[in-house]
Each structure stands twice: as C-alpha cells, then as structure tokens.
C-alpha cells in the first residue's frame, strides 16, 4: 500500500516537472525536443507493454508507428479530414495491421518473432518507396496540418497523451492481463494447459501495443507536419527498444524515462559536432554494460526502498 502511494507521488512529481520545464527554461527549441521525446515515450511504453511483459521482442514496432503516421498524413492531405479524426483512425489501422501480421507470427518464439516483425516493417517501407506516386516516395507526405497551433499547447497535449497511455497500460499490466502475459513469458505451454486462451491474450496485447504506437505516429505526423518512409526504418524500432532497455524492461513507466533521456542526450550532444553520434553510441555501451537492468526503473525502485526503509 505504501509503495503505491510513493509511486503515485513519484508520478505526480514527474508530471509536474515535465510540465514546468518549458515554463522555466522556455524557448521553442526545448519545447520541440521535449515534445518529440514525449512521443517517443508513447512508442516506448506501448512496446514495453507487449514485448516487455511477454518477452517476445518485437523488432518491427516501426510498422505500427508508420502505419499510424501515414494514415494521419493521408487523411489530412488527401481527404482533408481534421487532425482529430487521425488519432482514432490511426489506432484502428494499426490494430488491423497488428491482427494481420500477429495471427501468423505470434506462435513464433524469440528471434523468429523478432525477425518476422522486422520483415513486416521493412516490407512496408519498401512499399512506400515503390508506390511513390501515391505515397510521395522518399519525400513522404508534406504539408500536414498541425493538431494544435501553439507549441506549448501541443506539448501539453502530447504530455497528457503520454500520461494517459502510461496510466492505462500500467493498470492493465498490474491486472490479470499483466499476470497472464508474464506467465506466457515464463511457460506458455503450462498456461495453455491451464485453460487460458493464450493466443487471444497475445494477439490482443499486440493490438493494444500497436494501437498506441499508431496513435503516437499520428500525433508525430501532426507535429512534424510531414511523414516519410524513414519512420518504418529498422533504426526507429531499434531506437525504441534501446529506450525501453535503458528505462527498464517490463516496468512500463521506465521506458518513459528512457525515451526522454535518450532524445535529450542526442540533442545535447549537438555541441560535439561530428563526434555526436560516437559519444552517443559509447554512452550506450556503457549503460548497457554496467546497467543490464536499465537505469530508470531500478533507480526508482532503489529510491522507493530507501524512502520506505527510512519510515
């Protein structure tokens, strides 16, 4: 019980901190970086919910992101729908894709599932390039309208979305859903034997993960005001997995910190010019090597036990 109160206080503190940051430091640049990091947070959290809990690492998360983003792009530019329709539409499309690719591949284990999902994402990326006449090819779809014109307003909207998604997925993870998904990671055959419809839970969790990834994609499209095939790239999926790893797998809240940390790091290193990516990669190795359970979640757990220990 006490732990939950600390958790809640921690969450509130974090939200307040994130909300206050742009007010203290100001400037559209910081707001821009924070907004992008928050969107990555949504993607990271949605990945963790499915892959972190079940242990089935999805190397093609960018598929759902791209689908959501392009749906938003098409709806807005070709059909003229306002941005607010993009979000639900993106979620639906992403869920459809999750269903189509999930049903045949979710029975696969470990690296096989990872590769299948990766293949799915790569195929979509290729298709976007092959059908360049409809999709704008490498240049993608430009001229998407912003969802909210004010930079600060958009940031708060994205932050609110992140909080909502995280809270929702945390609740699910702590419910019997989470239990079943974690059990699947441990021993799927036993679960099946116990009468649990494992397939249903696996596909459903992939669809949920996809829905929020797609929603994040739509928000991204309406923020950057353009989408390109780079969203489907392997690099995108790998970046998100790294963020989850740094945040702490299966914690759901950890990836939020991981995402913000890594996006901020990439930007802060701009002063190093050509050395930026080198320092970033080396930092990554250090984190992965010395903190195999991640940075954010273990740190939080340690703080909690310290606080609990004191009282």
């Amino acid at each position: 019980m006490f732990g939950k109160r600390i958790d809640f206080a921690g969450a509130l503190g974090f939200i307040a901190f994130m909300a206050a940051l742009p007010l203290i430091f100001g400037g559209n640049y910081l707001i821009g970086v924070l907004t992008v990091s928050v969107i990555y947070g949504i993607w990271a959290v949605s990945w963790d919910f499915m892959s972190g809990l079940t242990g089935r690492e999805n190397f093609g998360h960018s598929l759902f992101i791209g689908v959501g983003a392009y749906t938003a792009g098409f709806l807005n530019t070709t059909f003229g729908f306002s941005g607010w329709w993009s979000l639900p539409a993106a979620m639906v499309m992403a869920m459809v894709f999750a269903l189509v690719i999930g049903v045949p591949t979710l029975r696969l284990k470990g690296p096989y599932f990872a590769l299948a999902m990766l293949s799915g994402a790569v195929i979509m990326q290729r298709l976007m390039l092959i059908f360049w006449e409809q999709t704008g090819g490498e240049e993608g779809i430009n001229g998407i309208e912003p969802l909210i014109r004010s930079q600060l307003g958009f940031y708060y909207f994205a932050l609110a979305a992140l909080v909502l998604v995280t809270a929702l997925l945390l609740a699910l993870a702590r419910s019997h859903w989470g239990l079943i998904l974690r059990a699947v990671r441990g021993d799927e055959a036993t679960c099946q034997a116990a009468g649990i419809n494992v397939t249903f839970y696996k596909i459903a969790s992939l669809m949920i993960s996809a829905a929020f990834a797609g929603a994040g994609g739509a928000i991204y499209a309406h923020y950057q005001l353009q989408v390109s095939p780079q969203l489907f790239a392997i690099v995108t999926s790998i970046t998100i997995i790294t963020m989850v790893y740094v945040g702490g797998m299966a914690s759901i809240y950890g990836p939020v910190g991981g995402a913000i940390l890594l996006v901020l790091l990439t930007e802060l290193l701009r002063n190093f010019g050509e050395w930026r990516l080198m320092i970033y990669s080396c930092t990554l190795i250090l984190i992965l090597f010395f903190l195999p359970n991640g940075l954010i979640a273990p740190t939080w757990r340690r703080m909690k036990s310290m606080l609990a220990g004191r009282e």
Partner: protein
C-alpha cells in the same frame, strides 16, 4: 539464362560467407551477434587502410585485415559479450551498440565517402557471352573454398568436434573437459574472420562506407532463420535461395523489387515453416 546463373552464384557466395559465420556463433554460443556486419565492414576497410595508407601489397594486407578482425571478434566476445550471456536480449543490445560505435569510428577515421578497396583481379572475363568482373569470380571461388574448408574442419578435426559438442550441450561439454568458454571465443574469431574475408572479397565491387554493416546483417539474419538457426548446410542452402531469388527478380522484374522479395520470402518462410529448412531447434 547464364547471366542469372553466374551473378546469382556470386551473390549467394557472399551471402553464404556472412550467414555461415552468423549461424556458427549462434548455433554454438547462442549469441545473436548484431556486430557481425561490422566485421564485414572492418574487413573491407582494413584492406583499404593497409593498401592505401600503409602501402602494403594486396594479399598480405587482406590476410592482415582478416586476422585483426578475428582478433577483434575474440576481444568483443571476451570483454563485452561474455558478462552478458545470461540474457539473449542483452547480448543483442550490446553487440548492436558495438556496431554503432564501429560505424562512428570508421566514419571519423575515414570519412563518409566511399573508399576504394583494390581488387585482386582487374581483368574482365567473358563466360558464354556474359561479362563478369574477375573479382566477382574470385569472390565466388574463395567463398566456396573457405566454406568447404570450414566444413571439413568441423567434421574432421578434434577442435571441430569440440565445437560441435559445445553447440549441442555446453554444460555437458564442460563436464567432459571441453572448455566451452574458450570454444566460444574461438568460434567468434572464426565467425569474424569469415565475415572479414567476405568484406575483403566483396569490397572492391560493393559499397564500402561506414554504414555498410546494416544491410548485410539483416540479410544474414534472414538467411540464417530460413536455413535454420545453427545449421551450416541450412545457411548455405538458404543463401543460395536468397541470392538467386534476388538476382532473378532483379533481372526479370526490376531492381527496386529485389529487397522486398527477399524480405517477403523470409516472412513467408517464418509463417509456414518457422524452424527453417534444417532447423535443429524448434521455433516455437
């Protein structure tokens, strides 16, 4: 069509070299080494560096490059991978980080532009009316030879049997007195050497740029899965299938469809026969 036959063979040979090394280290040590593409890149860059900057003749430069990359592979395994072996994902992530660092080192040292790896053979051959660069044929020949040598090594030598034993059951092998840790390092070195050799051979006619590690690793991954993780004959067969599939699509349809065909083939294989062609370990 002779064109397809020859060029398909060359592609398959390069893929086979990459895939065999990748499947070897996975089959034996359960390591999904995302830095495998980096070994390929370092092989090519090594050949470039030793010939262009140190002005060594080509053959010693190539052998030196391969040897150094093999050593690098062993170091990576010993220092970075071994402590993380408990978790497959951890190994994946750290080898990925190594790949990223190698890419940046190459970029900072050699710049982002393509580098010229000199070819062993500059002349052109015409086989049955088909023009083929000599270096491509050499790559084909050397790849086949190296893989054959590897196969013989594993089947006929004591070290080879030790490797097989460790791949089947590392703990049991340990009880029998086979130092599985040391075997892991040796296999990593072998795997890296194969990848580096592919880089040295293919560098003269394929891209040599700091980002050249990503595409080969994705292809190697796909081939190894299709062939069956841990199966060398499977990798060779799958490499042939992929190499020819790409070449056929490239010649008959269009080069922009080649990538999608190979990925689609992978996906379909995974859906219908996930253990791969000769998969020893079940996929589910």
């Amino acid at each position: 069509m002779l064109e397809i036959l020859i060029h398909g063979a060359v592609s398959s040979a390069i893929y086979a070299m990459l895939a065999v090394g990748f499947t070897l280290i996975f089959g034996v040590a359960r390591i999904l080494n995302l830095a495998h593409g980096s070994f390929y890149a370092l092989g090519a860059y090594g050949a470039y560096f030793f010939t262009a900057q140190l002005k060594l003749p080509l053959l010693p430069a190539a052998l030196l490059a391969i040897a150094l990359v093999a050593l690098f592979g062993v170091v990576v395994e010993r220092v970075l991978v071994r402590p993380m072996r408990r978790s497959q994902l951890a190994v994946l992530m750290i080898t990925l980080a190594v790949a990223l660092v190698v890419e940046q080192v190459l970029f900072l040292t050699f710049g982002s532009e393509y580098r010229n790896v000199p070819a062993f053979v500059e002349t052109k051959f015409t086989i049955g009316g088909v023009d083929v660069g000599g270096q491509r044929l050499l790559a084909l020949g050397v790849s086949v030879t190296l893989i054959a040598l590897l196969w013989i090594f594993i089947q006929r030598t004591r070290l080879g049997s030790a490797i097989l034993a460790v791949s089947q059951d590392p703990e049991a092998a340990n009880y029998m007195g086979i130092p599985s840790d040391r075997i892991f390092s040796i296999v990593m070195g072998l795997s890296a050497a194969l990848a580096a050799a592919a880089g040295v051979l293919a560098g003269p006619f394929l891209t040599v740029q700091p980002t050249m590690w990503l595409l080969p690793i994705v292809k190697a991954f796909a081939i190894v899965i299709v062939g069956g993780l841990g199966s060398i004959p499977g990798s060779i067969l799958a490499a042939l299938m992929l190499g020819y599939a790409e070449t056929i699509v490239g010649y008959l349809i269009s080069t922009s469809w080649t990538e999608i065909v190979s990925v689609l083939a992978t996906l379909l294989m995974l859906v219908f026969r996930p253990a791969g062609i000769f998969g020893k370990r079940a996929a589910f």
